[in-house]
C-alpha cells in the first residue's frame, strides 16, 4: 500500500511511483500541472510585495533615517533615498559654484530635541491630547448608551440604526464644511440662533476675523474646541454603534433572563452583564479610536477652511494637531516633519501598550 501525503508538493511523489514502479495508484488521479511551490508563492506574493516594499517598508525606514539627519533637504536628481540625498547634499554644500549651497547635513539626535522643544509642537501635542481625551470617552459612552437603547427596542430599530450610520458613508470634507456653516459666525447662523434662544450671545466659532465684521464674541480656543469635539463625536458615533450592536447580538439572552428572575435593576444589569460581556468590543473601539483621534487632521482643516494648513486663529495654529504639525513642516523643514512622524509612531505604540496592559486585567475573554 502506498502512502501519499497530500500535504506535500506534487513533485514529491513516493519514490516507487517516480521510479515507475508498478505499485497500484489510488483510483485515477487527474494529473495537476506540477508547479513547484516556491513558484506559486512567488506568483501570488510578488504583485503585492513589490508595492509594499517600495511604498510601505522602504518609506518607514527612509523617513526614520531622515529624522536622524540634521539639516536634511531633498537634493535635485538624488531620488528619494535618504543616504544618497545625504551625500549629494554634502557635495552640494561644498560646491563653490553654487550660489545658495544647502546647509551641511550630519547625523544627530538634534531633530528630536528641536521638535520636542518647539512651542508649536508642544502646542499640537497638547491640542491633540485634549481632543482625544474629551472626544473618545464621550463618543464611546454615548454610542454605548445608544446601542443598549437600540438593542432594547424592536419597532423602528432598523430605521434608527440606518440613521445613526449615515455619517459613516458621507465624505468627511463635506461634513466638515457643513459644520463650518452650521457654526457660521454671523449672528444669524444656526448655532448662534440656538445660543441666542437660550439667552447667550453669538460667537465667532471658527472664523478668526468675524468679530470685526459682526457683533459677536471673538474666536477662542474654547469656542473652536467645542465645534471640533462636537463634530468628532457626531461623526464617530456611527462606527462605534455598529460594532457595539454586533457585540450585543452575540450576548446570550440567558444572562438577562437570569437577572430578570433575580429582579436585578437596569443599572446593575448594564454594569454587571452588558459592559463585561461587551468588553472585547469596548477594548477594540477604545484602542482604535484613541489612535484615530491622535491622527486627527482632515476633519479639522475641513471645518476651519482658509487653506489646507489652517488650524484657526490669526496665526493659523490655534488647534494644530500632531499630524498637522508634520504637514506644516513637510515642505519647509523636512527633518522636523520626519522626527514628528517618528514621535507620533512612538505615541501610537505607547497608547497600544498601555491599553494592552489594561485589557489584560479588564477584558473578560
Amino acid at each position: 500500500m502506498i502512502k501519499i501525503n497530500y500535504f506535500k508538493r506534487d513533485t514529491e511523489k513516493p519514490a516507487d511511483l517516480q521510479a515507475g514502479g508498478n505499485s497500484p495508484r489510488p483510483m485515477s488521479i487527474k494529473q495537476s500541472v506540477s508547479i513547484p511551490i516556491w513558484v506559486k508563492v512567488l506568483i501570488s506574493l510578488a504583485p503585492a510585495m513589490v508595492f509594499l516594499i517600495f511604498f510601505t517598508f522602504y518609506p518607514i525606514i527612509n523617513t526614520s533615517i531622515i529624522a536622524f539627519i540634521e539639516n536634511f533637504g531633498w537634493q535635485k536628481n538624488a531620488g528619494s533615498f535618504a543616504i544618497s540625498n545625504f551625500f549629494q547634499q554634502i557635495a552640494n554644500a561644498n560646491d563653490p559654484l553654487l550660489l545658495e549651497p544647502p546647509a551641511m547635513p550630519y547625523f544627530s539626535l538634534d531633530n528630536f530635541g528641536l521638535v520636542l522643544t518647539d512651542p508649536i509642537f508642544l502646542d499640537s501635542l497638547f491640542n491633540t491630547a485634549i481632543l482625544t481625551v474629551i472626544s473618545v470617552p464621550l463618543t464611546i459612552i454615548v454610542s454605548l448608551m445608544l446601542s443598549v437603547a437600540l438593542n432594547s427596542i424592536k419597532a423602528f430599530r432598523g430605521f434608527f440604526q440606518t440613521i445613526f450610520f449615515l455619517p459613516y458613508v458621507t465624505n468627511a470634507i463635506a461634513l466638515g464644511m457643513v459644520f463650518n456653516v452650521l457654526f457660521s459666525p454671523e449672528p444669524g447662523g444656526i448655532m448662534n440662533q440656538i445660543i441666542q434662544l437660550f439667552g447667550g450671545s453669538p460667537v465667532s466659532w471658527v472664523d478668526p476675523a468675524a468679530h470685526e465684521l459682526y457683533d459677536v464674541i471673538k474666536l477662542s480656543k474654547f469656542s473652536m474646541g467645542v465645534v471640533l469635539i462636537a463634530q468628532s463625536v457626531w461623526a464617530g458615533l456611527a462606527f462605534k454603534i455598529l460594532v457595539f450592536m454586533s457585540g450585543l447580538a452575540t450576548i446570550d439572552k440567558q444572562y438577562y433572563d437570569a437577572a430578570k428572575i433575580d429582579g436585578t435593576g437596569r443599572a446593575r444589569i448594564f454594569s454587571k452583564i452588558t459592559v463585561p460581556l461587551l468588553s472585547p468590543q469596548i477594548f477594540y473601539i477604545t484602542i482604535t479610536s484613541f489612535i484615530g483621534a491622535f491622527k486627527m487632521y482632515s476633519s479639522i482643516i475641513s471645518i476651519v477652511g482658509q487653506g489646507p494648513l489652517n488650524f484657526g486663529g490669526t496665526s493659523g495654529t490655534l488647534w494644530i494637531t500632531v499630524v498637522g504639525y508634520i504637514y506644516k513642516n513637510r515642505q519647509t523643514d523636512l527633518p522636523k516633519a520626519a522626527a514628528g512622524a517618528v514621535i507620533l509612531l512612538i505615541i501610537v505604540l505607547l497608547i497600544t501598550l498601555v491599553q494592552m496592559q489594561v485589557s489584560k486585567k479588564r477584558v473578560h475573554y
Binding site: Y6, D10, I29, K30, S32, I37, K40, S44, P47, A48, F51, L52, F55, P59, I60, T63, I66, S80, V142, L146, A149, L150, S152, I153, F160, I163, F165, L166, V169, T170, N171, I173, A174, L175, M177, V178, N180, V181, E186, G188, G189, I190, Q193, L237, L242, Y284, T288, G292, S298, S302, G307, P308, Y327, R330, G340, A341, L345, V348, L349, T352
Partner: protein, 359 residues
C-alpha cells in the same frame, strides 16, 4: 400565548383564596386578601415603570436621531436655497433648518452651468457674479477622476489582496509567519511616515499629477489582506484535500473554492475601498493637485483633483464665502455615496461591522 397557558396551569394549583384573588385581579377589583397586595402593587408599578422607560428610550433615540439627521437636513435645504435670499436671512438672523426660498442655482454654479449674461446669472448676488466671471468652477472632471481611480484601484486592490491572502492562508513557505507579523506591524505606523518619502519617490518616478500615483502608491492594503486571510483560514482543510484528491492544484482551488467562499469578505473589501477612494484627501492633495502632465503636453488642460480635493479648493477659494454654493458642493459630493448606501444598506453595514477600521 405562552403566558396564557402558564396562567391556566398555575390556576389549577391555586388555593381557594388565591383563586379568588386572581379573579379579583382579572376583574380589576381591589384584592382583599392582604397577602397579595404588595406583589400586585409591585407588578402594577413595574408595568408603569417599564412603559415609562420604553417611552424614555424612544425619546432618547429620537433625540439623537434628530441630532444626527439635522446636519443632513441642513445640507439638503441649504444647497437648495437661493443665494440672494440666504444672504438676507443670515444678516437678519432668520436662517432656518428648512429653506423658505428653494432654488437649484447653486448646483448650476458648481457644475459650471451658469454662463455670464444668462438670466440665472443676473439673478445672483453681485459678489458671486464677479467671482464667477473671474473663474468658473466645474466639478465634472473631479467626478470623472474619482470614478476612474475608484474603479481601477479597487480592481487592483482586490486582485493583490486575494493573491496575497491566498499565499498566507494556503501555501507553506519559509518565514511565512514572520513576514505576516511584519506586515501586521506596519498597520501601526502612521501614514505620514510613508507619505514623506513616497512623495519624493513618486515625483522621481514622474508620477506627479497622474493616475499612477493615485492608484498604485497606496494600492496594497495590509488591513484587507489581514481580513481576507482570516476568512480564507476558516475554510475547512478537508475541502482542499478533496480538491487535491481530484488532482487540482492550489490555484484551481483558489478560483473554485476559496474565492466563492470568501466572497462576502471580498465584497466588503470592495465596498470599503470604493468608499476610501471617494473620501481620499491627504495623498491626492499632495501629489495630484494640478493638471495632468501628459494631457497638458498634448495641449489639453485636465485637472487631476479628486472630489474631496475639488471641494476643499472650492472652500479655500473665493467661493468659500458663499455658504450656499459651498454646501451645494458638499451635497453633490456626498450624494453618490448616500444613494449607494440606500440601495446596499444591509451589505454595507454588515461589511463594515465585520471588518473594522475606516480608511
Amino acid at each position: 400565548m405562552e403566558t396564557k397557558q402558564t396562567t391556566v396551569e398555575l390556576e389549577a394549583a391555586l388555593s381557594p383564596e388565591e383563586k379568588k384573588a386572581l379573579h379579583q385581579i382579572e376583574k380589576g377589583e381591589v384584592i382583599d386578601d392582604t397577602r397579595f397586595q404588595p406583589t400586585y402593587q409591585k407588578a402594577k408599578d413595574d408595568k408603569v415603570a417599564r412603559t415609562i422607560f420604553k417611552v424614555l428610550t424612544y425619546v432618547f433615540l429620537a433625540f439623537f436621531a434628530f441630532i444626527i439627521l439635522a446636519p443632513f437636513i441642513f445640507m439638503i435645504s441649504m444647497s437648495l436655497t437661493d443665494p440672494t435670499s440666504y444672504n438676507k436671512a443670515a444678516t437678519e438672523g432668520t436662517v432656518s433648518l428648512i429653506t423658505t426660498s428653494p432654488s437649484t442655482v447653486n448646483f448650476g454654479v458648481i457644475l459650471g452651468g451658469i454662463n455670464p449674461g444668462s438670466a440665472a446669472f443676473n439673478a445672483l448676488p453681485a459678489e458671486l457674479r464677479s467671482t464667477i466671471t473671474r473663474g468658473a468652477v466645474n466639478f465634472t472632471p473631479y467626478f470623472l477622476n474619482t470614478i476612474i481611480v475608484a474603479v481601477i484601484s479597487t480592481a487592483f486592490t482586490v486582485v493583490t489582496t486575494v493573491m496575497t491572502s491566498f499565499a498566507f492562508a494556503r501555501l507553506d513557505f519559509k518565514g511565512k509567519n514572520t513576514l505576516f507579523a511584519i506586515l501586521l506591524a506596519t498597520m501601526m505606523v502612521p501614514g505620514e511616515m510613508m507619505i514623506i518619502t513616497n512623495y519624493q519617490t513618486t515625483i522621481g518616478l514622474g508620477w506627479e499629477n497622474s493616475f499612477m500615483a493615485l492608484i498604485f502608491v497606496h494600492g496594497v492594503s495590509v488591513f484587507y489582506i489581514f481580513q481576507l486571510r482570516q476568512t480564507f483560514q476558516q475554510i475547512p482543510n478537508e475541502l482542499f484535500l478533496a480538491s487535491k484528491v481530484d488532482g487540482y492544484g492550489e490555484f484551481h482551488y483558489l478560483w473554485r473554492v476559496m474565492i466563492p467562499l470568501g466572497m462576502p469578505t471580498i465584497v466588503t473589501i470592495t465596498i470599503l475601498n470604493v468608499m476610501g477612494s471617494w473620501n481620499a484627501y491627504i495623498w491626492p492633495q499632495l501629489i495630484a493637485n494640478g493638471d495632468n502632465l501628459t494631457l497638458y503636453n498634448w495641449g489639453i488642460e485636465w485637472t487631476m483633483k479628486l472630489v474631496s480635493n475639488g471641494l476643499m479648493s472650492l472652500f479655500t477659494s473665493d467661493y468659500g464665502s458663499f455658504d450656499t454654493v459651498k454646501i451645494a458642493g458638499s451635497m453633490i459630493i456626498s450624494a453618490p455615496l448616500l444613494v449607494v448606501f440606500i440601495f446596499f444598506r444591509k451589505y454595507i453595514m454588515r461589511g463594515v461591522s465585520r471588518s473594522g477600521i475606516k480608511g
